[in-house]
């Protein structure tokens, strides 16, 4: 029973964030929510596959603090992101922007979809043309063989 309750509690538990210390959080819950929203879009450059909100790395903590300072100073989300982006480049954005370098990255799903559609269209067209294709008329020899076979069949039926 106790195990079940513990399991249920595990299921109910929300995602854990590294911002656990009340001293790190902003007083205003709306501003804190905004800071978290921004932080979740920024990559921790030390651990790389975590956002700065999820990471315990020292640099992530510093960046969280900077995000909160700027939010409470009244900057817009875009301004706060731009501050970090100006220093660490596209790599810091967990959602990469569309530019010449990332064009292939963003275009790959479209290319794959286009390729698939093209393959389907081509194979369907080939199938249809195979069904509709005119059957070549019988050659004189084939006609003669067919006639002979039909004669044999007829003989069998008569006898």
């Amino acid at each position: 029973m106790l195990r079940r309750i513990a399991f249920a509690a595990l299921l109910l538990a929300g995602p854990a964030f590294a911002v656990g210390l009340p001293s790190e959080m902003l007083q205003d819950p709306a501003q804190e929510a905004r800071a978290r929203e921004i932080g979740r879009e920024l990559r921790c450059l030390v651990c790389q596959n975590q956002s700065i909100e999820d990471s315990e790395a020292g640099l992530a903590r510093d960046l969280r603090r900077i995000v909160r300072e700027r939010v409470s100073a009244g900057e817009s989300d875009a301004q706060v992101v731009a501050f970090v982006h100006d220093r660490y480049g596209d790599f810091v954005l967990l959602r990469p922007p569309f530019n010449a370098v990332t064009a292939v990255l963003w275009g790959a799903p479209l290319l794959a979809l286009g390729g698939g559609v093209l393959a389907i269209v081509l194979s369907r067209r080939r199938m249809r043309s195979a069904l509709v294709a005119e059957v070549a008329p019988l050659s004189p020899e084939e006609r003669a063989r067919l006639a002979a076979l039909e004669l044999i069949e007829e003989d069998k039926r008569i006898s």
Binding site: L45, V46, L63, R87, L122, R126
Partner: protein, 187 residues
């Protein structure tokens, strides 16, 4: 017509696999030689001057602190090295910085998130290669430079434009293959 298009379709996956294989091979080779690092964060500062900053000196080191105005007009290209006494790769690269300093190459240091006592002990024990040394205990100036770990080394040309950034220790190979040619080119 029908047969050629079918042949092309059959060859397409092979061509795709070949292109992918060639790409992955190039990436692996680059990772082996160090020219390609999938985890590397390219510096946005390359081609730009150093960001504005003023850092206090480490008194025990006996050299002035560091500020961006000292990185504008320079008699020779300089190295700016971010380091800390608690950083193990910084110990690995220290002899290379000492070599450069002995040869007269200006090496400027930024001591990152360190206690002055520890930083002073590090330099007392291993030597001080820095002509100027700023203390960045809060680590804010490092963030302005886009530093994401120590050690990191930058080369600035005589106009103060950042030409090169190396995240990681300056090994003897990095010194010979990257730093010396860069210093010659920007001399």
């Amino acid at each position: 017509m029908a047969t050629t298009s079918r042949r092309v379709l059959m060859l397409a996956p092979l061509g795709l696999a070949a292109a992918g294989g060639a790409g992955f091979y190039a990436m692996l080779r680059g990772m082996g030689s160090g020219s390609y690092d999938p985890k590397g964060v390219p510096s946005v500062l390359v081609g730009k001057p150093a960001p504005a900053f003023v850092l206090p000196a480490l008194d025990e080191a006996g050299v002035p602190g560091l500020e961006d105005s000292a990185l504008r007009e320079l008699p020779a290209p300089v190295l700016v090295n971010f380091w800390a006494s608690w950083c193990v790769p910084c110990i690995v690269e220290h002899p290379q910085l000492m070599t450069l300093a002995r040869e007269g190459v200006p090496v400027f240091g930024i001591n990152y998130k360190d206690k002055p006592v520890d930083a002073a002990a590090f330099l007392a024990r291993r030597g001080n290669p820095f002509q100027r040394l700023g203390r960045d205990e809060p680590g804010r100036v490092a963030i302005d430079w886009g530093v994401y770990g120590v050690p990191e080394t930058y080369i600035l040309d005589r106009k103060g434009i950042i030409r090169w950034r190396w995240p990681g220790p300056v090994t003897p190979e990095v010194l010979a293959q990257d730093i010396r040619p860069l210093l010659r080119r920007h001399a």
